[in-house]
Symmetry: C2
Subunit: 466 residues, 2 copies
Amino acid sequence: MKPLYSLTLALSLAASPALAQRIAPPTPPTVDPQVAALRDAALKDDVAWDIVEGLTTEVGQRLAGTEAEARARDWAVKKLTALGFSNVRAETYRMPVWVRGTEEAQIVAPVPQKLTLVALGNSAATPKDGLTAELVVFPTYAEFANAPASAVRGKIVYIGNAMEPTQDGSSYGASGSARFTGPATASQKGAAAIVIRSIGTDKHRLPHTGVTDFPAGVKPIPAAALSVPDATLIERLATRGQPLQLRLLLTPRQIGERESGNVIAEVPGTDPAAGVVLVGGHLDSWDLGTGAIDDASGVAITAAAAKRILDSGQRPRRTIRVVWFGAEEVGGFGGKEYAKRHGKERHAIASESDFGADRVWRVETQLPDSAAPVAARLASALAPLGIVAANGRAGDGTDIAPTIATGVAGVDLNQSGLRYFDTHHTPDDVIERIDPEQLRQNVAAWTAMLAVVANASEDIGAVKRP
Amino acid sequence: MKPLYSLTLALSLAASPALAQRIAPPTPPTVDPQVAALRDAALKDDVAWDIVEGLTTEVGQRLAGTEAEARARDWAVKKLTALGFSNVRAETYRMPVWVRGTEEAQIVAPVPQKLTLVALGNSAATPKDGLTAELVVFPTYAEFANAPASAVRGKIVYIGNAMEPTQDGSSYGASGSARFTGPATASQKGAAAIVIRSIGTDKHRLPHTGVTDFPAGVKPIPAAALSVPDATLIERLATRGQPLQLRLLLTPRQIGERESGNVIAEVPGTDPAAGVVLVGGHLDSWDLGTGAIDDASGVAITAAAAKRILDSGQRPRRTIRVVWFGAEEVGGFGGKEYAKRHGKERHAIASESDFGADRVWRVETQLPDSAAPVAARLASALAPLGIVAANGRAGDGTDIAPTIATGVAGVDLNQSGLRYFDTHHTPDDVIERIDPEQLRQNVAAWTAMLAVVANASEDIGAVKRP
């Protein structure tokens, strides 16, 4: 609705100069030349690319709680130290670990066809010789939710629930129910297993994994995501009226508690009482790709921006704390651990980059009234990057959520979501997905944001959220 | 060079009216209204889509010589009969069959990373516990070809040889040497195995298979193609200077001779002495996808066009013979068998559709002088579809090659190759790759071509090729 409103407003303004004068916004504040210079220099940034390239090449996938994530932490400590940050360290914790096994699926009837699929995180295993059962096809989540248990008992459930791309990523929530709650609900209805159409917006033969949840008391069942073309094949076969039979072989395992950890680095500020500016992304990734857009780009963007403040020759007022969180994908363990250890420290704002590497199109702020001028200065500083400003809820992101929940103010630099779910959680999340110019625009936006927020003379205290 | 020449010519014409008059081409022949009507009606065709959808959904992959290709033949006979063709039958033959097994690869050193790859047709197997060896990286085929045997003996060879898309697909020949001759040459140099960058123009995590050849006396070795992002990962790691070690596990097998076959259907002509118009594509596919662009689209386009002539209410002068060839991918067995059985029958032209489903952009003809007016009428009939005309060599295609070699004239309807090698021979060759509107433009082009050629009053006899 916002673009429509703006258009209407612009037309009104054009038609009525008197009205324009009456409702025109106040003149935006001018941008501090130092902020502008830092921002514009960041449009030539190579540090973020170097971090993404290094992490995806020299470490690769970084599944939470595995030796690969531990190698990533070592790599991160070394890298952040080499970049010149202070107080670089890993803070470890224990968390439960699920690992993938063999993954095979075939349509058995009416016609033999091999399918491409991946298990969802926390999926149970099939019997070791596989599971063959009738497939009950639900094109939408609503049809599945409304189906009686008798329709699915002992069978394999299929849920379609197709997803379309949206600028703000909101369709993930709408379509994602097939993955988030489909498996547990299928189990409660007595299904033997569940396969879903991948929660993704592409049409490639690359399935999207992601975590699902079986709450206490709900028996985990085998749960997997088909690539979109495999899902549409099933839906086309289903329209032909003959019963479908599926064979599944999945051998994932829960391997118990293992070590994970957050990696922390700082640009020390001059005024400890002004609160920490917390920024970051997550270091862990799913195991199928090399986690380039999810979330090597996020850790890279935030660290590259912080390094630009570090190298500016002027210490910021507030300490900038870059956190590369562990174990985000599998339950946000790193974010919870951070809040447990650091939640009592004063934080001015928390801000997270975990939505790929495409350009920032909007800044949203949620600041206390005392810091209203900061939002205006942010809007001015970001406008030349093609970023529009909005006030409302801010503080989005799994990793900062537990910190935000303590009342910390938020600034969100929203990235375009139009491509993100094409490759999110797939084997295709590799460096080829990243556009270097859009990555640089991100670094410029974060650099400008840090330059404004970390140096703001206003008090940035707690905010109340409903 | 052709577009440049045309531009120069156009500029000359604009500058010099006198010259324009002297060298202007003869007025193109007007298009027979019946041809135009058939062509334009075909722009609303649904038959080709129906064939692609049916074959990819109800049969799926159709690897030559397997039960899946046999099911495809049964499906084809039933479909072509239902469409109303005459003399529908399968002509079978025996051919050697290679089948895929387990396919796994990991970088072992300097850093553990799983790779995505597929065996090439005719690849040997590794030992059943896998093969671990040093990886020698050659970014180009030339560097590999120039390397002494001592550089690769006992090692695994990697060849990059990146491919860029071209309108006419010619870069396939240029880049394809890594697959066509790389494995045999690596074997002759004493390599333990070979992995190549996929011969493909995409950047997705989907490797491209395809056949390779170990001539008599050359020992087959394990040979596989990495997805492009896996290949670039190896190339990036190689630049870091540490030795690379690879582990490969491939268990493909040669399973001996099996049955394959061509499926044939006809629109009977009124003048048997005028020769057969042979058109078609191939029914078999690689085993990874469902063979939508390679080559369900080719069999669909040619059959849909022939059906439009069949349904036109007027029998064509020449018999139109639609052949859905078997076992093209693995060595062109169907095309050879066809020429063996039918090569002595008089053929007016042979024409093949085996380059996907994107729009036809050029018609090339190679006709005897007696049939020169046919080429001019073809050019006129195809121009409204945005198709340019060229005279030169024509008769391209693995399946018609043995027939063309007997001196048969050719007409090539060249499709755009800009997207074809993005998904050629990958798991991603599925119906989602096909644009229904471009598929219809193909049917319209083939319908117009058949209407012109099958009814041409001129004699279309043998042509001489150098």
